[in-house]
């Protein structure tokens, strides 16, 4: 193909933009079916309690109510869900473990009736002791929240690389810190909803739900309801308004709606309110990190030791993988020979933590990059210099890190240098103004759950008129994946973009795919597409070579035609496709279809945390300039430089959109988003609304300068890297570092609110006696 492209790398508008702008795009909220009922949950007002009695009689008598479910209908009659064993979350619970936990469910002819019915259900609770703080939960004698978890520790993951004791002993400097990150929520515009329709005559369940991963959701629902997966059709709606990790797997509403539809033989829709979205879906894992870093005199990092406590919340989900990734990314883009990590996953009486953009990396990056600046301060060298001293340099590549990650392309040096230059690192600044930087590495792609590989399958059909259908099981959650896939298909087969149709994310229609997670899609699904496209091309060229009487290898496909390479003659693809459809060629015949599977064999971590996590890795360095108002503690970002190694840019608009959005979320993480705040004793949620939980708006965000560094990765099919996850991680630390540079205080707890800055300034003034 060479590096001259007709479609790749261009600014091509999202193929669904017209339907979103005109409003014809269908979200779950837009779907309805004849005879559809509305389901609602009754939720626990207690953070921890036993349900002693439920009286549903009044609710059942309300006209329009079709079904009232209690935990007795569910527990023991369905299987629990969750990404990993032991699974312990049901659609309804007899013992509730957070405020908002599901206690009963209702299906009624309309939403108002369902809500009225909820008020008629009388539940008697026996309150139980509440544990909200994971450190407290680990203390022997703390209330045990899940039967299997001694001291509430669901899982413990470890890294044991090198000799940590020796490494720290021999270090010239040891710098320690304790860092606390927040329970950031995804706050996607499109709240969770599903529509479930069971046909008693065929035994088939059709289930529309906002999901990043229809195949896993299918398995999860089928498993919960004891149905064959082949009888469960999971469809991601054509339009999903953001996901950020919060739409993987199945939720209580998925299971309850499916269960009620099967029981009633009528479609049931369940849609969460914004409050329920905050309460009862997932969030980023809060990490409490105690870390120490050992360095030589010249600033070379020799050791990293860390204990992380992950706040899992009430039920088990993806915590072990968040722990694993957090560990795997602990060293970031730096070469560190001795690494020791303990990651404790701990239950608390809070909503479940799950996957969220960055997946463990923003937490660990905040700690590492803060600590690195603290170390630079001690060693007495510049923060940029200490980073450049320790990074994986271009000449190191290919490089295997001490933890086994295989780096085949790395642009971190260029990112750091360009970000420093762009932010004016060396400039003299006004008082209370400072600059900060943070660097990071982020995996693109992911090993499969429980497994050691990363795969996707794409199915292509070339219609008889030369137009193209591409089927992918992956979801476009608003980020533009299908646009990128259409570009790739158009590029590889020389078919006009407007003749490529992407068919996506319907478990009955599309081939299996690991889904839209972990910045994998253009690489893995795109890779599968390119394999299938190559097979289509091979078949096309075989027929065209007969028509044009040249060797297939002398052909090239562009702009709807297959040309002889010297462009002297050509035949329309429509004609070749038609011939394949209608004419036998060499005894072969039939429409041109192909299925491609892209597999990258990664290597699972061993017990010491050694292994290669992902097919490839992206790098970034963000540089921030802030002004701190000492009187109020207010922090204003005056410059924001985002320099990212994105591999090859596939669609410039989309890459920029991802980086802008990621940086916005990173700034929210750093400065604004208080996370889900719980009253310290009762666990009552204090801010489950967009009014009280502050997602940054455009007005809260600075202008951003984007710098794209393109290191073409040899593993990724077009050399692209993931850009979805990586945008978030650096910002919080870069801001904290800039604040330190500006006013000399170090904030280690997210978000960095004016109050925290003010108190730190006060403490500093007290300390210095001024």
């Amino acid at each position: 193909m060479g590096d001259v492209f007709d479609f790749i790398g261009k600014r091509i508008p999202s193929i669904d933009s017209m339907s979103k702008v005109t409003g014809s795009a269908k979200y779950i909220a837009d779907l309805s079916l004849p005879g559809m009922l509305y389901g609602k949950f009754l939720r626990s007002p207690h953070a921890h309690a036993r349900v002693v009695k439920i009286d549903t009689s009044r609710a059942e008598m309300l006209p329009g109510v079709k079904l009232v479910l209690t935990p007795d209908d569910i527990i023991g009659k369905t299987n629990p869900v969750g990404a990993a064993r032991p699974r312990n979350q049901y659609a309804l619970h007899r013992e509730v473990r957070y405020v908002g936990d599901e206690v009963a469910a209702v299906a009624a002819v309309d939403e108002a009736t369902a809500e009225e019915a909820l008020e008629l259900i009388q539940v008697t609770y026996e309150e139980l002791p509440v544990v909200l703080d994971p450190e407290a939960a680990m203390v022997p004698g703390a209330p045990q929240l899940q039967e299997e978890a001694r001291n509430n520790v669901r899982d413990l993951k470890r890294v044991r690389i090198g000799d940590i004791e020796k490494g720290l002993k021999e270090a010239d400097y040891i710098v320690k810190g304790r860092f606390q990150t927040s329970k950031q929520v995804h706050a996607a515009l499109d709240t969770h909803a599903c529509l479930s329709s069971y046909d008693p005559a065929t035994g088939k369940l059709t289930h529309w739900t906002r999901t990043q991963y229809v195949f896993y959701t299918r398995l999860s629902i089928a498993g919960a309801l004891n149905m064959p997966a082949s009888k469960v059709r999971v469809i991601a709606p054509p339009a999903i308004g953001g996901a950020f990790g919060n739409k993987s797997g199945s939720y209580a509403h998925d299971i309850a709606a499916a269960f009620m539809s099967r029981k009633l033989g009528q479609p049931v829709k369940m849609a969460l309110s914004r409050e329920e979205e905050f309460q009862a879906t997932k969030s980023r894992h809060p990490f409490l990190i105690d870390a120490e870093i050992g360095l030589n005199k010249d600033g070379t990092i020799v050791a990293w030791r860390e204990k992380a406590i992950l706040d899992v919340g009430a039920y088990g989900d993806l915590n072990s993988w968040v722990a694993l990734l957090g560990q795997a990314m602990a060293a970031g883009p730096y070469k560190i020979p001795n690494i020791w990590v303990d990651s404790y996953c701990v239950y608390t009486d809070k909503p479940v933590s799950g996957a969220m953009r960055g997946f463990g990396n923003p937490q660990i990056t905040f700690a590492r990059e803060s600590l690195l600046d603290m170390a630079a301060d001690q060693v007495g060298i510049d923060p940029v210099e200490i980073r450049l001293k320790n990074i994986i340099e271009p000449e190191d590549v290919p490089y295997t890190t001490s933890t086994g990650l295989i780096i085949r392309s790395c642009g971190i040096e260029e990112c750091i240098k360009k970000a420093a230059q762009a932010v004016g690192w060396a400039e003299k600044r006004k008082p209370n103004t400072g600059v900060g930087m943070a660097g990071m590495m982020q995996q693109s792609g992911f090993k499969t759950l429980d497994a050691d590989a990363e795969y996707a399958t794409v199915n292509i059909e070339l219609a008889a008129d030369g137009s193209l259908l591409v089927r992918t099981g992956n979801s476009d959650v608003g980020q533009g994946l299908y646009t990128v896939l259409a570009q790739m298909a158009a590029e590889d087969l020389g078919i006009p973009l407007e003749e490529v149709t992407i068919i996506g994310a319907d478990s009955e229609v599309t081939p299996p795919d690991l889904g839209c997670v972990s910045s994998r899609s253009p690489m893995t699904t795109g890779g599968a597409l390119r394999i299938a496209a190559a097979e289509v091309k091979r078949k096309l060229f075989r027929i065209a070579s007969n028509m044009l009487e040249v060797d297939p290898q002398d052909l090239v496909a562009r702009q709807g035609k297959i040309h002889v390479k010297d462009m002297s003659r050509s035949v329309p693809i429509a004609e070749v496709a038609g011939a394949a459809y209608f004419t036998s060629v060499d005894g072969d015949a039939g429409p041109i279809t192909a299925q491609g599977t892209w597999v990258s064999s990664t290597q699972p971590q061993n017990e010491d945390g050694y292994g290669n996590y992902a097919p490839c890795y992206a790098f970034a360095a963000d540089a921030i300039e802030v002004e701190v108002e000492p009187a109020t503690g207010e922090v204003k970002i005056t410059k924001c430089v985002v320099a990212h190694d994105v591999g090859r840019t596939l669609n410039l608009d989309i890459v920029e959109g991802q980086l802008h959005g990621g940086a916005g979320m990173g700034i929210g993480y750093g400065l604004l988003e208080e996370g889900l705040v719980h009253a310290s004793k009762t666990g009552q949620l204090l801010n489950p609304s967009i009014m009280s939980y502050k997602v940054p708006t455009a007005l809260d965000l600075p202008d951003m300068q984007l710098i794209l560094v393109e290191t073409i990765d040899p593993v990724s099919p077009l050399g692209s890297k993931g850009v979805g996850d990586m945008g978030v991680a650096c910002l919080a630390a870069a801001i904290a570092n800039a604040i330190y540079d500006a006013v000399g205080v170090r904030i280690t707890e997210l978000p960095i609110t004016p109050t925290k800055v003010l108190r730190a300034l006060e403490a500093k003034r007290e300390q210095s006696g001024t």
Copy 2:
């Protein structure tokens, strides 16, 4: 696999029977979409006229009317449809060519408004001369109905095998006859309808229609509307109430609904009334056959000469292929060295003739089997004996006929002998009672349109819990195809039937398939399924062989498990499938999917009519006993024996159902169905209703004795042969022969009504002077 089956050959209820019995099955009539409009056609009251003027102003002013289309909107702005070139049927016409031809169309908010609007459209016609009789149409100077067709002959197909003049000259006997068959209609219970929905934002058209062949319909609609096929999604509804050939390709209502939906941006539904179904869909081609047969003294057939005139109706469709198949089947199951056929396809001012169960074979079989009895009479040997003398015998196989058909399995001898025995051929009978027999051969499968191959593609996914999804582009039109496919998948992979889901006939979902035509599906689509299943099995066994530590070839899949062949140990398929999904195996990974394409290279007929039409051939002999009431001419079937070589029986219930249904249609063809009757001058339709067009009911049909002869064909994947088409062909001739045996009159024009018998008896009495 051996010949012991868990599922194949059993009486397994259709997998859709529950949904049909409970009413949950969705026909097109059951579908509706928000904002859906209803479309209706204004139809021509004249058999041939020019539209001089259309005034739509009053119709357009009617509240609720959204659009009124006239031929000016369509002609030159869309492309005509039809199975073959030259295509000449549009959604609307400026020159109408039969009573019922489409002149204008309306879309309105409901059906009543649409119908009211039709009455407000004022059309001024200039009547043109009408030609209804194809022989008359061929006379030079007859009105020319289509520009390209000189003497109204659209096509002429020929067979020139051997030396016909020499053959006839050297024959000891030459017997001649003229035979006229009727314009039988399909009369499926489910009348034609479609629902078309265009999304202006994505440029995609979704089109539900009753079709046997979604991929051809997709191409046809895309071609008519100048859209890429990848933007047209054609879906056959989950339930289709019979097809019989009348649901291949696209109709005027498909094009008009799609066109109006695109113009309006709203869904448009069009459903034909029963009267419209009779008027404006297709029918069996009436054949006028002049045939002569040459025989030696001993009854050996040495020559067959035939001129057939096919009544094409107003527009070109599948006539050339009907002619080709009629020709290819002219010799039936007999060895005839010299064959000469001319098949003229001739336009008339009547509804279009198209594909119908048997596809040219019932017509030619009626002529040949009647003529053969007439010849037996002349030669002076028994009708059974003359057939046995000429058939392809088991020891001939594999046998290539004089016209190039390759017979790899043939059970005609057994069919004839068993049918004769069962009907009590040699018994002495009461006066006015007689027996008759007819034999036939019918292709299973078909070469592709314009091409020389027969193919299907099936896509299989094994879900992580070991349940199975099978995707086929073929339609189940009520005959049970999906049940048979589910049996085959269950059999091949040892998966419980209830865990197999068949997903069918949606051009966006399923892989391309030639569709449900020409008795091909269990062979071709089933063949593709078995190829895909073998690949799934290979992958399964590879993983299971690691788990069980045995060689893959020592494994067998049955009852949800993979066993070591000695049945000593096993592992559940669910476990193996899960491992494939979640665990890397030998560096490979990912869900088990496979796509299989079944291709049978057939050979197109050359100009002399030599070639191999189909992958395999089925045979049948039906024997009939009748009582004729001389006073009324009424014919009562007192015995009906249907002996068919079906290859391997795949599902006994379904095979029997096909043979019962086919025989019922054959008896209707022979005795009852007057075809579409046209007033001799105006072309007005006289019987476009179920009241006046008599389809036999259960009360009209005799008890039938079915005899299944199973000659396992080596080409067909499980050895099965088509049973859909073959049932019809023999009955009309067998009845005619039995009537001759009973009362000595030969009826050569279908249907054999009491009037015709009575007149023949009267003529005979006159002739013999009694």
